[in-house]
Symmetry: C2
Subunit: 420 residues, 2 copies
């Protein structure tokens, strides 16, 4: 059983995001207004919001993070869209990737022609421990969390299994973090505007200024191996293997293909969309693959009539560095067990053979969990339009992909985009 080709084409004619980061003065509604405004400004021929017919908003848990439920009509209200249908979609950290899938279906159905898809999360109001607890509810709270798992623990389990099986090392993981910070430093909306080298230099300067013992890091790997600079979170994952706690919002405007010229002469077409589910991690036979991601990817490739080799730029779900390595294998970019070699060899860098997470990824751009899926699409939009600035990949890419995961892989959703 496979999903079918999209009967009626769907295009993106606008995309935008708020800054990702920690914004104590902004509630989720404020962040969404910023994302909406950025999206609106990106619509080449202008957008009258009154033409929007439905809102799909991905959000993991505004209830736990902000004490605000029923967020969909609230977001609709704050950007002036009531009385249109407003639907919140939740699939943990894949919430807005899944919202995109639903927005596509809504247009394909013929019920709606013009649909706003957004994502929002406001996480930094709570102390870190409470955020960790809130995120852990995306595991199985009866069978996994009582065993002591948190999300760093889940992904640490995947990482150690992967290292044992294939010979990857801590430095394989570090290669991902170094690359993603290098990209994020070129993304003005990213939470971290610094390369690891920048951070290293800043810490060195600070020690000098304060008269502390000056660390003798020779290079980025040296810095990342330092337990004080990069403490262990859950072996083998250190601080710089983990995406941050973030606030942020993102939005894209979907329209039926035939309406795209009304809004833009440079739309991006969605040519593949796949979604799948899986059992919780403790029930899976192999922690080094995410079956849902493989399946969602296969569906998207089949729908698009493409293979992994056709993808020129991709945003994948690097909630932890190990997750990016697994993603590049699950998506078929590299053979199982070869993703880490590719990362170490620089194939996934901005000007490598297969550029991955040019935005900085969740690691450096930030991971406001419900917004991350649509945030990925915003980056692909820029890359395919050729306006990604300093982080633009070479070769005028025409085909891009996003890969968004919920929990430990109980949900995955993959989309493929084309500039024609």
């Amino acid at each position: 059983m496979t999903q079918r080709k999209i009967g009626r084409g769907v295009a993106i004619v606008g995309a935008g995001m708020s800054h990702f980061g920690a914004f104590p003065d902004l509630a989720s509604r404020d962040l969404f207004v910023r994302a909406f405004s950025a999206m609106r400004a990106s619509v080449e021929k202008g957008l009258d919001p009154a033409v929007i017919q439905a809102l799909y908003i991905g959000n993991y848990s505004s209830e736990l993070f902000e004490g605000q439920g029923h967020i969909a009509p609230l977001m609709a209200d704050w950007v002036g869209l009531t009385p249109i249908p407003a639907i919140r979609i939740e699939d943990a950290c894949a919430s807005s990737g899944v919202a995109l899938h639903q927005g596509i279906i809504a247009i394909t159905s013929g019920m709606y022609d013009i649909v706003l898809v957004g994502g929002i999360e406001k996480m930094t109001d709570l102390p870190t421990e409470q955020v960790t607890d809130a995120l852990s509810t995306a595991g199985d709270v009866l069978y996994e969390i009582p065993a002591g798992f948190t999300f760093p623990g889940f992904y640490a389990a995947m990482a150690s299994a992967y290292m044992v099986r294939y010979g990857a090392t801590s430095e394989s993981l570090m290669a991902v973090g170094i690359k993603n910070h290098d990209n994020g430093a070129r993304n003005p909306k990213a939470q971290f505007g610094s390369t690891i080298s920048d951070i290293m230099a800043a810490k060195t300067a600070k020690a000098q200024n304060k008269g502390y013992a000056v660390p003798s890091w020779e290079n980025e790997l040296d810095f990342l191996h330092d337990d004080r600079a990069n403490p262990m979170i859950a072996w083998p994952l250190r601080l710089f293997d983990c995406s941050p706690i973030s606030d942020g919002a993102a939005a894209v405007l979907l329209v039926a293909d035939d309406l795209a010229p009304t809004f833009s002469d440079h739309p991006i077409h969605i040519i593949g969309s796949g979604q799948a589910s899986d059992v919780a991690l403790h029930d899976r036979p192999d922690p080094t693959i995410l079956r849902a991601a493989r399946r969602a990817g296969q569906q998207a490739y089949e729908m698009a009539g493409l293979t992994p080799a056709d993808i020129q730029v991709a945003e994948v779900h690097d909630c932890f560095t190990i997750a990016e390595l697994l993603a590049t294998e699950d998506l078929g970019f590299f053979e199982p067990g070869r993703g880490y070699v590719a990362a170490e060899q620089g194939l996934t860098r901005r000007h490598g053979l297969k550029p991955i997470n040019t935005s900085g990824g969740l690691k450096s751009k930030g991971h406001p969990v419900g917004a991350s899926g649509v945030g990925q699409v915003v980056e692909i939009w820029h890359q395919l339009q050729g306006n990604a600035g300093e982080r633009q990949v070479s070769g005028e890419p025409a085909i891009g992909l996003t890969h968004n995961v919920g929990g430990t892989g109980q949900t995955a959703v993959v989309h493929i985009f084309e500039r024609r």
Copy 2:
């Protein structure tokens, strides 16, 4: 701008629910298994679950109520449906009504042919005050909740405005509760299996047995006016004006019309589906109408090519008794300000002109909030199939309606069903 006719017909070929009530030994996954099993047993020609292609599950807040997020793939797992896409929809108490709308769109799109739509809520693990707090997050937590509002307060505001404007009284509200308990007493899945008379008799008998002063209630209204038997919650709403805190789940199986004969010779067709949003209550000009419900109803009528007069049986969102009165007006069954007269005159009783909430409604059947929308559909399924037992309305109804509201009316969704 209106929603269009459904291009590809959608039929319900199976419907079932768990018991609604308080079940300390069952988690939401257990309740959903029961609903799924009841649904499966109702499929006339049998159901191999392997044919199901997607799951849409409505849930308000398993995060707050149970500490479990990312519930969609978990529900899929527990009924053996992974790896199909599993999507949680949240729109407060309209969550599963909205999930139904999305399930319909999914089939109409041609992306899926066979879709399971469910609803689930497990509320009774928490103390009542915490449940009230959790529900209040469906209001605006920045602009309404700090003013002291809880949901009984919101609906009390609507009720007092309605009473002042139209001359309705507490007894108008009581007429709704009496009717709904009379219906719920005939529903073996209902939380309350008792009429108000039954409850009155039981309390009298208990007083006699214990040697207490025996109350001298002459009739149900007399009982409902007694502050000890029916305490004031938020004037003018008393205990018996409020739906209970409930656990429960419900499920329906949707298929493309052309596939219906594979599953059943007696499908129920969905001929109208409308959804709308609105601003929070404090921003609305008139608390005696729910504009989103009016709009959703108009869309559904238009899609179905029907008028309010054509509806032979309806389940409406009576989270509080006042809500049922407003619903019967918003849906056009009665003129504004005449809903309470109709209720007092018995027009909405089981064998009245316009039977409303034959299931017992949220008031008596129970209100596990995320399950209520699909729970309503289960009742209409039974009524249109003519197998609603003791609560079957007369005249072999062929057209039914469901009306599901989120929050104070920031979301509303209306569906119309037909037996051909």
